[in-house]
């Protein structure tokens, strides 16, 4: 077995194409992201907002109080400037403020554009509207508790923001998706070892198939080697992101390793499965690997930041069956949400996917006798 593993490792490491896609490509892409996004911003920029007092109603007072509590919070999410309607509109036109809140019986918001800052302002208004009655009750019955209630609601808002797919730091999500993509690109290693195992796919596979070594032993050795090399690739990528690009992958490192172990196995077993498609030419099978890797990563938010959230709204099942999305979501669950339940669910899904793809690949690969060669 050691003999088989040793040479399988050597063949993988010396295969330039495999090394490029599984190790170098994610590192290059990560570097590109880093250069494109500039240095990482882990703090939210304070949003300048104008406040126009429409009337003197209870609702208006409560809304102003609500905004002031948020302004005074540690996060410094917003900076309010009380203005007349005309001045506020002028400032909005000159983009000196991101939006204008109108405090009245029905609080309103006007924003200058459609970006993350304006979305945050809208979310603040939505949160207030949803909980307005509660704020009024507290303000009238127990005014001392108002600030605490708003802060509690604000925390809920912060959590909701992440739950809808908008990371507090928008750029980090690309790196999470990148890890998902890197896991999927282990398929190139899986493909290489799979091709070398099949007698109806490669001459080397034929020679191995008729040797005195059982196919099972060869499959186990190849799979272990492929998975091992892929885990090294992923470890290098994580170290590169964390220590060279200084991307904050904080959270439980063991949980992150758990994600990479399960996710990496899916990548390898997917490649091994594609390698067994003996009727397809080599170029087409490689194309399937590239497209699978990139498309699943695209859906997880690698190229368009909001797509994962959009899919979560329109077709959540897709996010649950797309391994790259599950990997990305699992990373969110430990780095952003700190939600052990969500993490566990994602890990269960990843392990289930690994078992299914691994089992199918094994059943196809283990044949020793063929109908045609």
């Amino acid at each position: 077995m050691l003999h088989l593993i040793k040479y399988c490792l050597v063949t993988i490491i010396r295969q330039k194409q495999t090394v490029f896609w599984s190790m170098l490509f994610p590192i290059l892409l990560g570097t590109l992201f880093y250069v494109s996004f500039g240095s990482q911003k882990t703090e939210i920029e304070t949003i300048n907002v104008a406040l126009v007092e429409n009337d003197n109603s209870e609702m208006s007072k409560n809304f102003i109080n609500y905004l002031e509590v948020i302004e005074d919070s540690d996060e410094k999410l917003i900076k309010i400037e009380k203005l007349s309607k005309e001045k506020a509109v002028k400032k909005l036109e000159k983009l000196e403020v991101t939006g204008v809140f109108y405090a009245g019986t029905e609080p309103e918001l006007v924003v200058a554009g459609n970006n993350i800052s304006s979305s945050i302002l809208k979310s603040l208004l939505d949160t207030f509207n949803r909980q307005a009655q509660m704020y009024i009750d507290i303000a009238t019955q127990n005014p001392g508790k108002f600030e605490e209630a708003v802060k509690s609601g604000y925390q809920e808002f912060a959590t909701e923001t992440t739950l809808t797919g908008k990371s507090v730091d928008g750029a980090v999500q690309y790196f999470f998706s990148l890890i998902g993509m890197a896991c999927m690109f282990g398929s190139f290693i899986g493909y290489l070892v799979s091709v070398q195992l099949q007698a109806n796919v490669s001459p080397v596979g034929l020679r191995r198939a008729i040797s005195a070594n059982s196919k099972l032993k060869q499959i186990v050795a190849s799979t272990l080697s492929a998975v091992f090399v892929h885990y090294i690739d992923l470890a290098v990528l994580l170290l590169y992101l964390q220590f060279v690009l200084k991307i904050d992958l904080s959270g439980n490192i063991f949980k992150l390793i758990g994600i990479c172990l399960a996710g990496g196995f899916i990548g390898v077993s997917t490649g091994m499965l594609v390698g067994t498609f003996s009727k397809l030419p080599d170029g087409i099978r490689i194309g399937i690997l590239v497209i699978t890797g990139l498309f699943t990563s695209f859906l997880s938010g690698l190229m368009v930041g909001g797509i994962k959230g959009l899919i979560e709204d329109k077709c959540p099942l897709l996010n649950k069956i797309n391994p790259a999305s599950v990997i990305t979501d699992a990373i969110y669950s430990i780095t952003v949400y700190d939600d052990p339940g969500r993490y566990a669910l994602n890990i269960v899904i990843l392990v289930a996917m690994s078992l299914i793809t691994g089992a199918v690949t094994f059943i196809i690969s283990r044949r020793e006798c063929y109908d045609s060669i």
Binding site: Y7, T11, P203, L206, I210, S214, E368
Partner: protein
């Protein structure tokens, strides 16, 4: 050593092997001769339990071979038609890898690898990768990977395809040496000269059937042709052609593009009688060849087509 009985292999309606019967004894260099697509590789794949077959029985070393017959497979070495080596491994690593599929002991393997390298003359190229080798050297590496574990039975499936004459001779000499060292060889080819040169027993296969088998002498004695006389640059009338056809022992005459080919049954002085006729009739001519029957003649007479058709 190898017994193939009533072997039938179909691909849909196409019959690749049609009740094939072979018996190969220990110590033989057994040639499977047939044109491309005749079923040689299919037969080999069935013998190695790599290909399912519809009917028949295959025994190797006295046991029916199955995919899991690892003890039998340990005794077999295969040199496949396509070069089957890892591009990423050097010459010595490739030999070590494939030898290691049969021999676990490192020390023993080291000696076997060194023997295989010496046998195939790859000593100068051990650190090279397959891409750096010429076609002939690559074929030699293919052989080294198949025989390094010193198997009792070596199956070589067209090992000289696309090899230059010099390398081909080296390979053929090597096969004979392997046989002298105790290995039984099954050698498939569509090159009759090779089969004639090295095989002690030959089976001619066509359309999945064994149409003749025996030693080369036995095969040649099966056919009418004893001698083929070819005359180049000769101008003959219809009358003269008829007269040549009527000469003693001549049973077939073919005249095209001023080249005359006459097939004669086995007898003494066929060429003398032929030359006498040409001289007596004052017929001028160019080169004259007289050839003893070849396996191609055997194939031609039995099937009505040439081996390389």
């Amino acid at each position: 050593m190898v017994k193939v009985e009533n072997l039938v292999k179909r691909y849909g309606n196409f019959v690749a092997l049609d009740h094939l019967e072979l018996k190969i004894s220990e110590g033989e260099v057994f040639g499977l001769l047939g044109p491309n697509g005749s079923g040689k590789t299919t037969a080999i794949s069935c013998m190695l339990a790599l290909l399912k077959y519809d009917k028949g029985n295959i025994e190797i070393l006295g046991e029916r071979i199955k995919p899991s017959s690892y003890n039998i497979k340990k005794q077999i070495g295969i040199v496949p038609q396509n070069v089957a080596v890892f591009e990423e491994l050097s010459v010595i690593e490739n030999i070590d890898y494939f030898c290691g599929l049969y021999i676990k002991n490192k020390k023993e393997r080291k000696k076997l690898i060194s023997d295989a390298i010496e046998f195939t003359g790859l000593g100068k190229y051990t650190k090279m990768r397959p891409k750096q080798l010429s076609g002939g050297l690559l074929r030699r590496l293919n052989i080294a990977c198949g025989i390094a574990h010193k198997p009792k039975l070596v199956i070589m499936d067209e090992p000289t395809v696309a090899v230059d004459p010099q390398s081909r001779n080296k390979i053929l000499e090597g096969i004979q040496e392997l046989n002298r060292n105790g290995s039984t060889i099954i050698y498939t080819s569509h090159y009759m000269e090779e089969v004639e040169q090295i095989c002690t027993k030959i089976a001619i296969i066509d359309a999945g059937r064994c149409i003749a088998k025996g030693t080369k002498e036995e095969l040649k004695s099966m056919i009418k042709t004893g001698e083929t006389i070819t005359v180049e640059s000769i101008f003959l009338s219809e009358k003269q052609l008829s007269e040549i056809h009527a000469l003693q022992n001549v049973f077939e005459v073919h005249y095209e593009n001023n080249i005359l080919v006459a097939r004669c049954s086995s007898a003494k002085h066929n060429l003398v009688r032929f030359m006498d006729y040409l001289q007596d009739n004052n017929i001028s001519f160019g080169k004259v060849f007289s050839e003893l029957p070849t396996l191609n003649d055997v194939f031609l007479e039995i099937t009505g087509k040439k081996l390389r058709d």
